[in-house]
């Protein structure tokens, strides 16, 4: 598998000697998405030690928001330290559970995920704060459906401060909800996007339409389309739909290898 690009390459034009390559704090605390188009606009990536919100505008889209947050957490180099996943009884009933075989197929390690299923949102927020402060996991993901009054400026600021202090990536996934004021450093809207089909008109790699709604650092809102590559655990800019090459990875272009009984 060839690496498509060096995400830091855009940030650090050249390294003149080892000392120059040392990353200053401001830059090392950024998590690049991997797609050059998005990272340039974000000036390197999203804050690694902070809170980010992902909205799925409808119930069906909330799955895309969940997937995008999870994949973003896997962008962390130390994600093998674990992901702390908080969900509620209601959520699990309505949206199903995480399926480790699928997670592993996307390039992650399901045994590094710690699942916590809580009864209500109050417990969920408390568990999230505990998880962040304990530094047990590199990323903490909390999913909540619907418009919840408990997720307000105060509770999100609490999470954001804890995340910044502990150096943890905190991701809040809101399905079927309207954005409300919050202390998150970025806010995204995520939807599934048509993938580039594989031979035989088979569905392709996970592709998302993402749009930045708000950025604390002042980056202007923009929209982009990104595809996940599980081999490099990185996003790349999705080709615009149209008659582009269906084969996105070199090498295994043999359609026969894709035939499954």
């Amino acid at each position: 598998m060839n690496i498509r690009h060096n995400p830091l390459g855009t940030v650090f034009p050249s390294g003149q000697g080892t000392w120059k390559q040392y990353q200053p704090d401001g830059q090392s605390s950024l998590l690049p998405i991997g797609a050059p188009n998005v990272d340039t606009r974000l000036r390197g990536g999203i804050a690694r030690h902070g809170l980010h919100e992902f909205f799925g505008p409808t119930k069906v889209d909330s799955h895309a928001a969940v997937a995008f947050a999870l994949l973003l957490a896997w962008r962390l180099p130390e994600s093998d330290a674990g992901i702390f996943w908080i969900t509620s009884d209601k959520e699990r009933q309505a949206s199903g559970r995480l399926y480790p075989h699928g997670l592993s197929a996307m390039g992650g390690d399901p045994s590094k995920i710690l699942l916590v299923q809580v009864a209500d949102l109050r417990d969920a927020l408390r568990a999230a704060a505990d998880g962040i402060r304990s530094k047990a996991a590199a990323a903490v993901i909390l999913e909540a459906q619907g418009n919840a009054r408990l997720i307000d400026l105060t509770s999100t600021r609490r999470l954001a401060l804890a995340a910044a202090e502990a150096g943890v990536l905190a991701l809040l996934v809101r399905g079927d909800a309207v954005p409300m004021p919050s202390a998150a450093s970025t806010r995204w809207q995520v939807k599934s996007a048509p993938s580039v089909p594989l031979p035989g008109n088979a569905p392709g790699f996970a592709t998302f339409d993402i749009s930045l709604l708000r950025h604390r650092g002042g980056t202007a809102p923009f929209a982009a389309k990104v595809t996940w590559d599980h081999a490099t655990r990185s996003f790349y800019d999705a080709p615009l739909s149209g008659g582009l090459s269906a084969i996105v990875t070199g090498g295994e272009a043999d359609p026969a290898s894709r035939q499954r009984a």
């Binding site: 399926y99 997670l103 993938s195 990875t249």
Partner: protein, 472 residues
């Protein structure tokens, strides 16, 4: 006073009734004739046993080895415990006084074996030789035969040769005699196994403030941690017993996922445990004894903390798991475990994280292939209405939760056979369950789903479609 079965007999009497000449076993009609104003209650053995259990809990302040002797007895093994109260007589006095405070009459007897103490208490005898032969518990026949032979007390039996006795009345009688005479010492079977480590604090004046209680527990935890360190062990379970001065005992238990002897961590868990209690601790008139026990411990080596102050993520994870398990319940904090099955929902198991870390043996993704399994799976497959081009064909569109999705791309079927060996007589045709045909589907808005048709057309007349999972 209680009644029993059809014959309506007295099962137990209080001292006032005994003074009037009523004894257990008297028929109710006779008793009524003698004492018309007799108050009678139903016999409730379950409640009796519960009360006995409650008393046994309270008696654990004297010794950890405590055994129920239904219907009305308790056996305590006070070996090595009596010096805490001065001597064994003072211990017995203390216990009797406490029982009296609850309005219970009791007879306490001390003996070198459980059998002798039990018999002395039951027959109110001062010495073993004064016990009647009924103490042998050998049945009416044996007792009558012994009495007819002129042997009225255990003292009479003790001086006889044993062999003829065994030949006439059987071995059990002789064994029981040996136990009564304190020649043979069977151990009692305590209700709870003795802990590995136990620390306790007595109070002359009962304490009731939560802060005092927590401070005491902290002190005890420090002591237990020191003992654990000496043994090179870490506790997996910690139990705290709060003995209230009125005899009630409240128990708190904390389980940990990994062996630990960190008093600070333990205190945090205990605080969580107290916070999570459904009904808060009621100190009543205060606690006069607080005890901390470690019933389950495992080897825990000393670890050298590195010079560089790097956070130990393993330790942090274990601490987080314990903390959340105590607060939310162990079943709510889970990890994925793989299972050998090709049925998608059977291939994974979620187990409590405290039960142990999972092995990382998940199928690796194939380069250049998209995920063939969804990242989310519904607990119960969602029924969908599917329009297919032709009966065995791939779906063209489907309706799920009142929304129609037009299929833009599709791949399949991936055929998954049922596990016929799990069905009764599954080897016979038609009994093994239904085959599933799975399709990876993308609708024209880009959402990717995992659909399956349950049953082939030669297995069932109208196969139904379900949505089983969602792809990223």
């Amino acid at each position: 006073m209680e009644k029993e079965r059809g014959a309506m007999r007295l099962v137990a009497c209080d001292p006032a009734a005994l003074a009037l000449g009523l004894t257990p076993g008297t028929a109710l009609a006779d008793a009524r004739a003698r004492v018309p104003e007799l108050a009678v209650f139903d016999h409730d053995p379950a409640a009796d046993l519960k009360l006995l259990g409650w008393l046994a809990d309270g008696c654990e302040r004297y010794t950890p080895a405590c055994m129920l002797d239904p219907p009305q007895g308790l056996l305590l093994d006070i070996t090595g415990c009596e010096h805490l109260f001065g001597d064994e007589v003072r211990l017995a006095q203390d216990m009797q006084a406490r029982l009296q405070r609850h309005g219970l009459t009791s007879r306490v007897a001390l003996g070198a074996t459980p059998d002798s103490a039990q018999a002395k208490a039951r027959f109110a005898a001062r010495t073993i030789s004064a016990l009647p032969v009924e103490a042998l518990d050998g049945g009416d026949k044996v007792h009558k035969a012994l009495r007819r032979a002129g042997l009225r007390s255990i003292g009479d039996l003790a001086i006889r040769p044993r062999k003829p006795l065994a030949a006439r009345f059987g071995k059990t009688v002789v064994m029981r005699l040996a136990r009564l005479l304190e020649e043979e010492d069977p151990r009692i079977i305590p209700r709870r196994s003795p802990p590995i480590i136990q620390t306790a604090q007595n109070f002359a004046e009962p304490i009731s403030r939560t802060n005092d209680v927590l401070a005491t527990i902290e002190m005890l935890a420090g002591g237990a941690a020191l003992q654990l360190q000496e043994r090179g062990q870490g506790g997996r379970r910690f139990e705290i017993s709060l003995f209230r001065s009125d005899g009630h005992v409240a128990r708190l238990a904390v389980d940990t996922g990994t062996p630990t002897r960190d008093a600070v961590l333990l205190m945090r868990l205990i605080r969580e445990r107290i916070d999570a209690l459904a009904d808060p601790l009621d100190p009543g008139f205060g606690y006069d004894l607080i005890r901390l026990e470690v019933p389950h411990a495992e080897v825990l080596e000393n670890v050298q903390v590195g010079l560089e102050t790097k956070v130990d993520t393993d330790a942090a994870t274990a601490a987080l798991i314990d903390r959340l398990s105590v607060r939310l319940g162990a079943q709510r904090v889970r990890q994925f475990h793989a299972r050998q099955s090709h049925i998608p929902e059977r291939a994974v198991l979620e187990r409590a994280a405290q039960a142990g870390a999972p092995k990382a043996d998940w199928p690796k993704p194939e380069p250049g292939e998209p995920a063939m399994r969804p990242f989310r799976l519904f607990e119960t497959p969602q029924p969908v209405e599917v329009t297919a081009g032709f009966p065995e064909g791939e779906p063209r569109s489907f309706r799920w939760r009142r929304q129609v999705h037009r299929v833009a791309r599709v791949e399949g079927p991936e055929r998954i056979s049922p596990e016929w060996w799990r069905h009764a007589r599954g080897y016979e045709p038609g009994n093994g369950g239904l085959t599933r045909d799975y399709y990876r589907v993308e609708d024209n808005e880009g959402r990717r789903f995992w659909l399956f048709r349950r049953g082939l057309y030669d297995e069932t007349e109208r196969p139904l479609w379900y949505l089983h999972g969602i792809f990223a």
